[in-house]
Structures are given as C-alpha cells and as structure tokens.
C-alpha cells in the first residue's frame, strides 16, 4: 500500500481522508461509517470475510447436536457421553481464544483467523470416520477450537472501524457469526435428508453430511487469505517490514492485558451472556423435546430460532452501545450493558418456570434477544479497555465467555442433580450475580456506572500509560495516540457543539 498511514489530520470528517478509500475514514484510516451492503476494500470486505468465516466455524462446532439422534445410535453413546462432548466442544475455545488474542496482536487477524480455521477443518472432515464415544468427544473438542476466530473477528473490526461505529461493526460480525449455531440446526438435518434420499443408509448419510461444514470452513478461510487485509493500509508483515508498524513483544502485550482489571470483569460478565448462549445452544432442543413432548424436528426449529435471533439481537446491542455513547459516552455504554444483561437474567429465571409451550417459546425468544444484545454491548466496551493489548483483552473476554459455558454446564446441566428447568432458573440467578461487577468498571477519563470522570484525566494518558517512556520516545505508541483522539466522543455530548475537540480537553457531561 502506497500510503504510510501517518496522517497529520486529526478528526473524523465525512470527506474521505487518504483519498483512496470508498468509505469515509478517520486519522487511523478506520471507517467512520458502516455500509452493510458494500464490499468495498478494505473495510467492508474485511467485515464480510470475517463474519462469514466465523459463521462457518459456528456451523461446524454445532453441526453435531442436530444429528445426535443418529450419531448416538450409530456410536452407542450414553447421555453422559453426549453431555461430556458438549462440554468439550466449548472448552477447547477457552484457551484458543486467549491464544488468538495474542496471535492477532502479533501476526494480525487475517493470518490468525485463517490459520485457526484451516487447522481445525481436518477435525470436521474426520468427524465422518469416528466410531466411538471417545473419538466423538475428540472431534467435538478440536472442532470447538475454531470458534476462537471470534476474537480475530472483533479485533479485525476494531482495527477497521472507528469508535462511533465499532460497536455496530463488532455486533453484526459477532452476531452473524453466532447465527451459525442456529443455522446449523436447520442446515445439517436438511443436508442429511438430501443425502439419505439419494440413497445412503442413515448411518452413512450423517457422516457424508459433515463434509459440507468442512468445505465451507476451508473455502471461507482461503477467501480471507486471498482477499482480506489486516489494517486499512495493508497487512502486518508488510507494514512491519516497511517500519510503519512496530512489532510488539508478547511479554509486554501480555502484561498490559492481565494487569487491566476491566478485562477480567468483562471476561466474567461475558461468561454470563455469551456463555449462557452457548449452554442454551447445547441443551434447548432436548429441553423442549422432553418437557413439552414436541417431535425432534419441532424441537430443532425452536432451538434454531434461539440462535437465529442473533441476526438482529447482537447487532442491536452494538447499535445501542454506539447510540448510548453518542449521548452519554462510555457511561452510556456501561449502563446499557448492565441493564440489558440484568433483564436477560430475569428472563432466564422466568423461562425455567414456564409450564406452557407457547409462553415458554415467547419467553425464550425475548431471553435470546436480551442475552445476545448483552454480548453485542460487551464488545462495544472491549475496544476501549486497551489499545496495545486489544487482541489479548478480546481474547480474555471471549475466553471468559467459553469458561462461563463450561462452568454453567458442569454445575447445572451435567447428570441428574437438577432438572433442566431448575437448571435454567438457577442459571438466571447466576447471570444476575455475575453481572454485578460491571458496577466496578471505571475509566478515569470517562467515568463508570456510578462515578463521573476524574477532572484532569484524558484518553491520551490512559492509552499512553501502556507504553514506557523509552517506547514513547521511539514513537511506538503513535497508533494509541490516534486512537485516543478518535475516542474523544466516548466522553459523551459536550456543552459546546464543536466536532473537533483537542485531545487534552476534558469532556463535560450532559
């Protein structure tokens, strides 16, 4: 890329900066607008590539549940085997998401996500030849690693889109990816029916069906490699070679991620919106099937509708986050996250108490809207926690989501200690408890839920604090400085309506 990316222009403006981008951009060349139906290089193209490859990973990870009635007979599985494999499918990604965060910080989201996706594709293909409970567990475990590509999705969107639209971009990319968990409940039975109809016996047809998610995964990863780029100005390797991007050290990135308490809090709370979503993906079809005696296909459709709500719910969360930020800044983002997740918890408690099928479905749909919106709202806050360790913080939060899923399934849905409905109600109570820590998040420059910002604190100080004096002297922190300038709007609406606010001015609140 010809442009060096070092622009002397500060602020967001609607005229295209840097000349050669179709979308308007800010000083970091990040797009300030989001055009859903465009494939313009590099911003919107990155968006479509990342959400689709993440979607394919979700389709693969949850491809087994809708076919379990066949697999369990073919492999002679017990309920325990199936439950263990369900836990395994979401536990692999706990560490994979952390690793992905680091990989994104170090080699860029394009290579990181494509590597993960291509290296987990064999697990999907080999699902077709499993023959025992342990091999079933292993393929689900390794396939589950692929949903760590969530982190690269969020990282990539945070690198391509400016603060005013980052919540929306993250929300749609994450939501449409998670959609795969719902879509697969419809896709896999359909593919199986087709193959069975053509002539295979049932125990062969389900095996052949797994090649479809495998193909999708491989092709989407190749598209990411061939057509995508890490940053608006190019790929990491090239930029590092040219000297435009400093190759950061893992130790420093790691240190600044784990010492930032906000990352840990968000990891916990994400465990109780996204983790809950994963748990529901694994248990809800069986819940409706057993409690209300609907047939398997109906149970599958109900299960699918939970995941399909992601089309609007998670993007809706991101949109709400950005909208609240325009009026109330970061405090608005935090408040909306807290309130929406609390409502999600209450609806979860109610869902476990419903004894009527239609009421249950209505509550479940409402519950899915709120819990998935909370996921979108979480990633409206994550891009601001750290600039240097963005990848790792995204990884920690994402990993926390999976930890929540593992813990919840272990406590409430393994074995027969609690009936499924009691488990769901208790899960709702746990959501409420684990959402409280959001009250503790505080940004000195923008405030927290109950406290306003500190008078002299600035975004520039906050982000520059991640770099040592030595590094600052060498200019390594220049990207963080630009980010701080572009985040000035997180201070909320100011009395003076001038769009260009110098970075060292303190924002006052509405």
């Amino acid at each position: 890329m010809e442009d060096s990316g070092k622009s002397s222009l500060h602020v967001e403006s609607s005229a295209a900066e840097g000349g050669h981008f179709k979308l308007p951009v800010d000083s970091e060349q990040k797009a300030t607008e989001f055009w859903l139906f465009s494939f313009a290089k590099p911003h919107m193209r990155a968006f479509h590539l990342s959400w689709f490859s993440f979607f394919c990973c979700f389709v693969s990870t949850f491809a087994a549940p809708p076919l379990v009635p066949l697999i369990r007979d073919n492999l002679n599985l017990t309920t325990t085997d199936i439950g263990n494999a369900g836990i395994a499918s979401v536990s692999g990604a706990v560490f994979a998401r952390l690793a992905m965060g680091t990989a994104c910080d170090l080699v860029g989201p394009r290579l990181a996500s494509a590597s993960l996706t291509l290296l987990t594709a064999p697990a999907v293909f080999f699902t077709s030849v499993i023959n025992s409970a342990s091999s079933y567990l292993l393929v689900r475990f390794f396939t589950g690693f692929s949903i760590a590509s969530f982190v690269s999705t969020q990282f990539w969107m945070s690198s391509m889109f400016s603060p005013p639209v980052v919540g929306l971009a993250n929300g749609i990319a994450g939501g449409w990816g998670n959609l795969g968990g719902g879509a697969t409940q419809l896709i896999m039975p359909l593919v199986y029916d087709l193959i069975h109809h053509i002539g295979s016996t049932n125990f062969t047809a389900w095996r052949i069906a797994f090649f479809i998610p495998g193909f999708m995964q491989t092709l989407s990863a190749i598209a990411v490699l061939a057509l995508g780029q890490d940053l608006p100005n190019g790929n990491y390797r090239k930029l590092e070679k040219v000297g435009d991007k400093h190759k950061d050290s893992f130790r420093k990135v790691f240190y600044h991620a784990v010492t930032n308490y906000r990352g840990w809090i968000l990891a916990l709370t994400y465990g109780y919106c996204f983790g809950v979503e994963l748990t529901i993906d694994n248990i809800i079809a069986e819940y409706f099937y057993d409690k209300f005696n609907v047939n398997l296909r109906t149970a599958g459709i109900i299960a699918a509708s939970f995941g399909l709500a992601n089309i609007i719910s998670r993007p809706g969360g991101g949109l709400l986050s950005d909208w609240m930020s325009r009026r109330y800044g970061m405090r608005g983002r935090l408040w909306s996250l807290w309130v929406v997740q609390i409502i999600g918890g209450v609806l979860c408690i109610v869902l476990g108490r419903m004894n009527n099928l239609s009421a249950s479905i209505i509550v479940m749909v409402l519950f899915s809207l709120f819990v998935q919106a909370a996921c979108g709202l979480t990633f409206g806050v994550v891009p601001f926690v750290s600039r240097r360790s963005l990848g790792m913080i995204s990884g920690m939060t994402g990993g926390g989501g999976n930890v929540g899923a593992v813990i919840t399934q272990l406590i409430f849905f393994k074995g027969s200690k609690y009936s499924k409905e009691t488990g769901i109600t208790l899960m709702g109570v746990m959501i409420l408890c684990c959402t409280l820590p959001i009250t503790l998040i505080y940004f000195p420059q923008w405030g927290g839920l109950f406290c306003g910002p500190r008078p002299k604190a600035t975004a520039e100080d906050y982000y520059a604090a991640e770099w040592s004096e030595d590094e600052k002297e060498r200019g390594y922190h220049s990207a963080s400085v630009k980010f701080a300038e572009n985040s000035v709007r997180e201070g909320g609406r100011r009395r003076d309506s001038s769009p260009a606010v110098p970075a060292d001015d303190t924002p006052s609140h509405v």
Binding site: P69, R72, D73, N74, N76, T78, T79, T80, L111, A114, S115, L118, L119, A121, P122, F125, F126, S128, V129, N131, T201, N202, F203, T204, W206, R207, I208, F211, G214, F215, T218, A221, I222, L225, A226, N235, R237, K238, E240, K241, D290, N293
Partner: protein, 200 residues
C-alpha cells in the same frame, strides 16, 4: 378379584373405542394374551443387514384375555432391553404408551390371527444394542389392547444382541484425509507467499 379384573380387561377395549385414540393407553393395563417366541438364542449376536430372525406368536389359551373381537392387527417390534436403556433418556420406558420409547423398530404389522409368524432380516438402520421382541395387538383405532413379549416381565431373559453397521466406508476416510491435507497445504502456501511478498 380375578373376575373383576377380567371384567375390566374386557370393558377396557370398549371404552377405548368410545374414547378414541386420544385416550392414553397404559402398558400396565394391557393383558398379556400373546405368547411370543423369537428365534435367537439368549445372548446370540445378530449382524444388521445380514442375519435373519423368526418370530412366532400365538394366543395364550390359558389367559382370560380381552375381547378377541376387538383384536384387529398385530404389530411386532424390536424393543430395547434395560441394559441398552441405561443413561439413555431417549429410549426410556414410560407406562403411557404414547410417551413410551422402548420399542422403536417395527418388524411387521399383520392382520390378527390366533397365531402368526414372520421371518425378518435385521435392517441396517438397527443400532448396536440388546433387544427383545414384543408384539402388540391393536384394535380398529390402532390403539394397543393386548401384548406379548419374548422375555419375562423384568426383561432379563431371552435377550439378544444386534451389532449395527458402522456406516463407515474406505472412501470416507480417503476423502477426509484428502480435504484435510488440502486445507493444511493451502495454509502453508499462503504463508510462503506472504513471506515472499514481505521480502520484496
């Protein structure tokens, strides 16, 4: 007492005819009026798609059975033995026959006669499990009115095993290996191209 029970048993099919198929039929209310024998010896292993079994059934003359005039059809099925139902909620036995999942594989349905038999090749869709054979007698509304089974009431005797097909084929393994290799090689290819581009 026996007279009362046999009266109830005689009345039940009538009631069922009146109430229609929506009334829940309880397994515990069915009289065991058929004697069912299945050819596999206890513990014998049958291979799905290959082995054949013979099932015969006959009215048990010693049982004060239900109203024989209500008997219209005989449905014979493979049913899971308790060992194959353990920790598998989708095969659970429920007294309400509408919810009962014990007998999932139908062998045959025939018009009622005092005795009958069927020769059956174990289908390839039957999974690996331990089974026994049960025959239900159905009335004109397809509701169960009597039964008989090849095992005892505790379902412990005369059980046989079926070994289902694996569904595996060599071509599956080869295809999986090829596509996996392709994925990994594609990744390596792009890495090399990246490195070359960065060098330029």
């Amino acid at each position: 007492m026996a007279a009362l029970i046999s009266y109830q048993v005689r009345v039940l099919p009538f009631l069922l005819c009146y109430l229609g198929p929506s009334a829940a039929v309880l397994f515990s209310s069915l009289p065991k009026t058929l004697i069912v024998t299945a050819s596999p010896s206890p513990g014998q292993v049958l291979y799905a798609g290959v082995d054949q079994i013979n099932v015969t059934w006959a009215i048990d003359q010693s049982q004060p059975g239900g109203t024989v005039s209500a008997y219209k059809k005989v449905k014979v099925s493979f049913c899971y033995a308790p060992a194959s139902q353990a920790d598998r909620g989708w095969r659970k036995t429920d007294d309400n026959l509408k919810k009962d999942k014990t007998c999932q594989f139908k062998i045959t349905t025939q018009p009622y006669a005092t005795a009958g038999s069927v020769a059956y090749t174990v289908e390839r869709s039957i999974p690996t499990a331990t089974f026994f054979v049960r025959a239900y007698v159905l009335d004109s509304e397809e509701a169960e009115v009597a039964y008989g089974q090849s095992t005892d009431a505790q379902k412990t005797t005369n059980l046989f095993d079926v070994v289902g097909i694996t569904g595996l084929h060599a071509s599956l393994g080869i295809a999986a290996a090829c596509f996996s290799a392709f994925s990994v090689v594609a990744l390596a290819f792009f890495f090399v191209v990246e490195k070359r581009k960065a060098k330029k």
